[in-house]
């Protein structure tokens, strides 16, 4: 019963367009993650959905109900805030029962609910502690408990993990998934951490400068981003993008004028775009460093600056036309300063429009 539909939703602060005419459908029980850099409008969108901000334009629907003018209390939502927003003067169990007390549930039922929820989150032993005595991870668990104790139709989470350190984050991500599956609740989650988004989301909504750049499931957004911004923002490291040009109507060269060797199929595909300039995108994992060529058709010349280890994988850094790029290095040898070739052979070769950044 809790599909959410945003229709031309806008929120301006004076002249600043925090959210600029976005359209989105969120299905019942879907786990949607809003992903983007800070200031992209993702939190503002969430606050509009929560009713904490009045919208400047457009509509918000919960199911068939237009909820624009509904108070947060009338939207049957629950929210977890970035900095917990727990009531500091109340003990843990009274924080959790706060929403139940607000709707005048009898004490015996309240007790039962608290028991259920604290068991689900493994915080039974914290119930009589003070908020100020809890470590950050537990605080966020309590905040989550308070949010779900009322079984809301929509669960909203505003960067719930950004104030926690890495150990707690790991735990909490698993907690979120567990809870969401157990409760079957439509969930909107805001984060700037693409790893979090990749792990949690059924659907990721990538936002930038108040607009939705792209939506899709994590796998698709990673493998085949429809947009330069998505490719760059999702994945760590992000995608490599090389400016290319068609020379003399038949040869492909790199932006800085150096040669790039394409196999015949790739070359034909590039020519069929009928563009002079385009962008060639490839993930570092599919771009291999080789010191000597062994008959590979797709390559260009590079000089490694150094080797960097990210998530147990070796990446070689190199410059091209002033920009830094990364390629995959299969063995951990010290290759800094070496010259060689960046070789690629991805069947899904991705070309983007230089001006719009959209996939071609």
């Amino acid at each position: 019963m809790a599909q959410i539909r945003l229709e031309n939703l806008s929120k301006y602060y004076g002249k600043v367009k925090a959210v600029d005419e976005i359209n989105l459908e969120i299905k019942d029980n879907e786990f949607v993650v809003f992903l983007g850099p800070s200031g992209c409008g993702k939190t503002t969108t969430l606050r509009c959905v929560a009713g904490l901000e009045a919208v400047t334009g457009g509509n918000i629907y919960f199911g068939d109900r237009r909820v624009n003018d509904f108070e947060p209390a009338d939207r049957n939502i629950a929210m977890v805030f970035q900095h917990y927003a727990l009531y500091p003067h109340l003990k843990v169990h009274r924080n959790i029962t706060f929403p139940l007390k607000a709707e005048k549930m009898p004490p015996s039922e309240r007790k039962k609910k608290v028991k259920e929820v604290s068991k689900l989150l493994g915080i039974e032993n914290l119930l009589h502690r003070r908020i100020s005595d809890l470590p950050d991870g537990d605080k966020q668990k309590v905040a989550l408990a308070r949010a779900i104790v009322r079984t809301p139709e929509v669960l909203l989470l505003d960067e719930p993990l950004s104030a926690l350190d890495e150990v707690f984050r790991e735990q909490m991500r698993i907690e979120f998934l567990k809870i969401q599956k157990a409760l079957q609740v439509t969930t909107v989650y805001v984060t700037h951490d693409q790893r979090e988004a990749m792990m949690l989301a059924d659907k990721i909504v990538v936002m930038n400068e108040g607009k939705i750049v792209e939506t899709g499931n994590p796998q698709n957004l990673y493998e085949e981003p429809q947009n330069l911004f998505t490719g760059y923002f999702i994945g760590s490291p992000g995608m490599n993008f090389f400016n290319c040009r068609i020379k003399g109507g038949r040869d492909v060269v790199l932006g800085n004028g150096e040669d790039i060797s394409f196999s015949e199929t790739y070359r034909q595909k590039a020519l069929s775009l009928s563009k002079v300039d385009f962008v060639f995108g490839i993930r570092p994992e599919y771009l291999f460093f080789k010191e000597k060529l062994n008959g590979e058709p797709n390559y260009f010349k590079i000089k490694l600056v150094n080797v960097e280890r990210i998530h147990e994988i070796n990446y070689g850094n190199f410059y091209l036309g002033g920009d830094l790029y990364k390629c995959f290095i299969s063995n951990g040898e010290e290759l800094g300063g070496r010259e060689g070739f960046a070789v690629f052979n991805d069947p899904k070769i991705l070309f983007y429009d230089t001006a719009s950044g959209k996939i071609l």
Partner: protein, 299 residues
Amino acid sequence: MSDYDYKKYERNEKLIKLLFLWPSLAILLFLIAYPFVMLIYYSFFNFSFLRPVNNKFIGLTNYLLILTDTYTWERFIFTFKYVGLSVSIQFILGILIAWLLQRNFRGKDAVFTVVLMPMMLCPIVVGLLWRYMFNTEWGIINYFLHNFLGFARIEWLGVEQNSLWATIIANTWMWTPFMVLLASAAFSSVPKHLYEAASVDRASGWFKFTNITLPLSAPILVLALIFRLMDEMKQFDLIYTLTGGGPGDATQTVSFTLYKTAFQYFYTGEGSAWAFILLIIIIGLSSILIRLLNYLSER
């Protein structure tokens, strides 16, 4: 820096600290410690400063005289009634007004300034002002009550029971703004995101007020209460001009009695004893409240 230099430097440092310290210390000693010691000293003597010689040490006689007199107890009862009622009304009214002023409306700043105005007036002036307004024949209060609401003219300052309420009304008018000011400060120090969380949690306005606003601003509210209580216990100026302690002695507070004893009858010794008793009561009352304050802020 060599060891020798360092020691010299340390010595100089100490000297400079002392030099900075002694002027204010001397002033404090002269203006507070000395009078206080002398007050306790005089309270054991049959002493009047009109007659500097020939004082007799009389031990606790001054205290016994005061505490065994039924008149004293009447003064205390009036004072507690007056202070208790004034402070309670100020407290509740102040919180209510501050709560109303939390909302956003046009001209809020102007309203706030107007609300705070009475507090900035001189108590003597406020006393005189209300004295005129309470006048039975031509005061504006009776004018409205009589001409518009059809009441008989009330003898505000001439009848004992009425004069209690007259003093409380004037006092409340003057000092409620103080509560408004502190309650507003307390309310606006409650983090906004707690209200957001509460509105998502479906709390009504009243529920938010009683479950978030009040408990979180309790320390400042209690502090304001302490200020008001201490101030009211020794209040003198407003009553001096408003009723002059009358009718009869009906509106004489303890501090007014103290004033009369010490500066009209010039029983300096007895007056000192009054002052010491009043001091102990104020310290006692405020230490109870300070305990409450500590309890509240430790939660």
